[in-house]
Symmetry: D2
Subunit: 363 residues, 4 copies
């Protein structure tokens, strides 16, 4: 099947992030970018080998060689541009927030239905590998018992300026910017139950920087299944971004920290079915261990070397150096001394034989 | 350019791991597997859509439709099989240890040179994304000053049995099994300096399980550049695998924990050029943040939906649910009450307007 | 000045805890205990060398040899017993909650005023050494900027039974039991500002165990100084008690975990005046470092040995053993070999001289 | 029994530390200080209410009103001063290192024996509450199985100058300064087995600051019981002092971090007898929980208030403020609204009754 041809609208920070994400997406090819700022537009095009560049989004929507449009423009333009792209027959992926009012949202629903095209909004956290693993663990009813509560924190140091601080362009403050991440992540983790009530406190603490936008909010959400969720968002956090998710069950609990410890920890009174040893009590679940161990990188390195005619990273010469050190280590242990390298008379024996030599027998 | 066609020798745990890694390698296609155990062989072939299966490695080496061979057999077979594969004209990737003696290693060097084919050994840790980031940080001389020492720990609960406990098949104990990871990782992190001396202590603590193999070792390596490295390996560690790397500089230090906290932490008296805010003092460096944030997963989901005709994960209906919660939150805050959902009269205003309504003016 | 003579009412878990605390209180002497259960009463008396035991609190209140009464009875008895003790002329320390209604509280205020005696309630957390240090850091306006929010978590696995689950005896659920800790701790940390409004969500998740008592609650408190506080309490937490306090300022933040990591961490964009190096960015403030380092224990051991005629822990023989190891270490490093103990010819030189011997000159 | 009267020799950092420790030692009274520097001497005397000050140690040794001498002078003076103090009939506590040569050590042994006085050296870490708890856990053979190894790290940023960098006064570098802590701590944790062999690597990395003193060392100690210990010391560590102790058993392991996380963590395949729930798998053992909870501080506050005629910290007025917040919280939850304080009509009901009022019945 042919690759999906993608055009990005907006070459700012998020446009660049989506371009990078597309580079790592099987079956996708970035072919066009639209951005009014010529310098940014050309820089993104150059960095990603994009064939066609446009000054206006409308030109990109008219481009017959584009199947999927990614919209990474200021918030207030998300819904109008998405509607235009759908009506032009494009599949459309929109940075969050997808739309700023319910009326806009309903127009998008109609446009998507009528166009027969895919419409998605960019809630990246539900694809974050660590949170994907968290959801798998959250569904282990044996380990967690009944899940009755979640807590989500998304706190940053806030936007520096630009349209992010223009109320008309951004639509809301930390609650819109970060709250939609937190709300959707907890809906998705909980299996998307219906929400029945919300109680919230919202503040503007740093009015000098953010007024009239809100910069600090706490939400308490009640779901139809009787469970609750708490979302805490802020633009006031120094010391680096804080993104955490906690799931509370009657028999266990889960905690993921996306950035600081980059960790995943969990407790169960019983046993997690999908966690390696130890799987009971406090555990440290891995996630995507094959990727985290570097195996795809290792095979990629060899495949690239073959395709590009270069050498591999881990050659037999490197092994020789490693093996000499291991042999020296066994010798050092066997003979209770420091062993200098290179070895004068490189032993042909197995490492084990060096250590188990007669002189070391009484060990 | 045509894909690289890959054959795997060995369908045990590591054979399966390499098959999974190949699935995530651009430009590679797994086409054949060789394994004497028919059940394992067919299971791996089925799971990965492998076309051709062989009972013997020699048959796979004779397969003209294979460009690259991955060897995942017992340790003692690594070098003989690799030599055979090279002599059959195959590029070859070998699970560690690449060879158990220096003589074997030299034969492989000759075979690789004469064949003109790539020969790599599978040191996956030098491709582990977190350690790749660690190396980038380790090279920040402004932040670290002079790096004078490293410390590497690789400790597991040890092999359960099989050929892993057969001295002839395995070649050595924890020092061979885990030590080659630790030694190569610290060579690579240090920029592969020449080793000048080794002092080691090696023990067999649990002789009932592991004798005559070693199960606990500490190595002290001295490099030509004056820096040192310490490697600690063990088959005796309960509570889950421990893989950590520490880099000590005169002005800063780095620490990566591959599994437990899955974290990366660093300190500098000056400033890390590649770390986001905060970049001085104790910092929490991210690694591969685009992948960890889920962006490739997000675009992949949309591309797959287009190619396969399915729906996306984050639809406009999901957004509608999120937006209703955000609007309810602003309303709750503005009116100091719990707001029930669904909203009776969905507001068409921007979220911010709800909160900044006259009734909330004195906030 | 003569010691304060103390009587405890209640010999359950908290009675025992207070007895132990008194043992570590300068100027206090536990002389009496009142407890209806004879076995518990005698056990506490025996364990703490208490002279006089009583079956009824009234007998203890009538005891002229008691200056201070500590009340550790079921919640509903706290206020009535405290009032009785004050009217009997005793200073009174009461386990939390001090009283279950505002009417009771006002009667106690009158009783304390009329008696001229001290009345205290046992909010131990404001004396917890780590939180005392947290408050000191919270007042570092240079480091934190304006403190605009606090977050307090106090979550346990809940009471097992007894009067703790009897609504009439206990007065409330997790919100009374743990909420009063959280509320008072954050008032104290904030410098006791006046509270202006409260928004709360309260649940009974595990009605089978706790109904009709609440077992999960979140409070949002608004203070007159514009700052806010969030308190989260629960009787549903498996995996061990969670007690944390977080303080959020515009330039920095603080976090204390009372039990799990037993840690204190803080961040500032500027500098903490009272934190040792490093004092900027993310820091790890010590607290009561002299106690945590063991110095009082060390001097206590020597003083006890003198007073009791026993030997000290760290004798000169122990030093000899340590010094031999240090000397052997320098020798080992100087001569690049393992050194066996005891040393054949114990060197009389300084450690440094061994290492700096001619043979090691080129090091 | 009368208090032990103590005199301190040396009013530098460690003299001050010992004075503070003595303040927290039952049965001890600091009565004299000897220090050649008049300003330091008078400052310490003033801060601790010391009656008698001396310019020379000999004057203090001649002081008949001193029972115990604490020596906190430069390293090279420790043994000579201790011998003089013992010969003057004083009990003697000496800062580490107790003596710099084996000859000095043997003279001290003789002096102690002949004087009949106590001689102790100040290894404070074996009294550090967290390590005391670690040792208790280390002896839980059911939980740990056979303990076969320990690892101790003591790393600082090194001394700034003064006699600490004078080879004749200090006797050795990091290995003497920090190594004696690490060596004695692991001897004590292991039950003081006999050492049979030492292998060590010692370096001077920062010769400009520390040469000819060593600043980095690793020791490998072999004990008669077959277990081993690793000590790692350094004067080169930026980012704050690192003091950790790890104990490795065949069924479990322990880790204490004295400063950074100030934590204690442990793992067992079975169960720790002395750890609260959870007691299996990975656990977070508390230590000295009564002190860490603040109970002694709480009772001390009341006793001091009585003795000094001041008021207590936690008065009934504070309770009233807390209770109002709790009542408001129950009201807020029952009526689904924000509740303003002070309450207009303070309810006389129990907290629980507010929440369980008819209006909240369907909750």
């Amino acid at each position: 099947m042919a690759d999906v041809r993608v055009g990005i609208v907006g070459a700012g920070f998020m446009g660049e992030t989506h371009a990078e994400a597309l580079r790592r997406t099987r079956g996708a090819r970035l072919v066009a970018v639209a951005e009014p700022d010529a310098a940014r537009r050309e820089e993104l095009a150059r960095a990603h080998g994009v064939e066609r560049t446009h000054g206006a989004a409308a030109e990109l929507f008219a481009d017959g060689g584009v199947d999927l449009v990614v919209i990474a423009a200021p918030n207030a333009l998300h819904a109008p541009l998405a509607e235009e792209a759908l009506r032009a027959g494009k599949h459309t992926l929109v940075e969050k927030p997808l739309a700023l009012t319910l009326a806009e949202t309903r127009r998008l629903k109609a446009a998507a239905r009528e166009s027969g095209r895919r419409l998605a909004f960019g809630e990246n956290l539900v694809f974050a590998p660590k949170l994907v693993r968290l959801r798998e663990l959250a569904r282990d009813a044996e380990a967690l018992g009944t899940v009755y509560h979640q807590r989500h924190v998304f706190q940053t140091c806030g936007p520096e300026g630009g349209w992010w601080l223009d109320p008309a362009a951004v639509g809301g403050g930390a609650l819109v910017d970060l709250g939609c991440h937190a709300v959707e992540t907890c809906r998705w983790l909980a299996g998307r139950p219906e929400a029945r009530a919300v109680t919230a406190r919202v503040r503007t603490v740093d009015a000098a920087r953010f007024g009239p936008l809100d910069d600090f909010a706490v939400l308490w959400i009640e779901y139809a299944d009787g469970s609750t969720a708490q979302c805490e968002v802020s633009w006031l956090r120094p010391g680096g971004e804080e993104v955490t998710a906690e799931v509370f069950g009657t028999r266990g609990l889960l905690r993921a920290d996306l950035w600081k410890g980059m960790g995943l920890s969990a407790f169960t009174e019983t046993r997690f079915a999908s966690v390696w040893e130890p799987s009971s009590g406090w555990v440290h679940p891995e996630w995507d261990w094959i990727w985290n161990s570097g195996y795809p990188g290792s095979t990629q390195n060899v495949v690239d070397a073959i395709l590009e005619g270069t050498d591999v990273e881990e050659t037999v010469d490197e092994w020789e150096a490693v093996l000499e050190i291991l042999l020296a280590a066994y010798l050092s242990a066997a003979e209770d001394r420091r062993v200098e390298l290179p070895l004068d008379a490189p032993p042909e024996a197995l490492p084990l034989e060096l250590w188990r030599a007669p002189s070391a027998e009484d060990r």
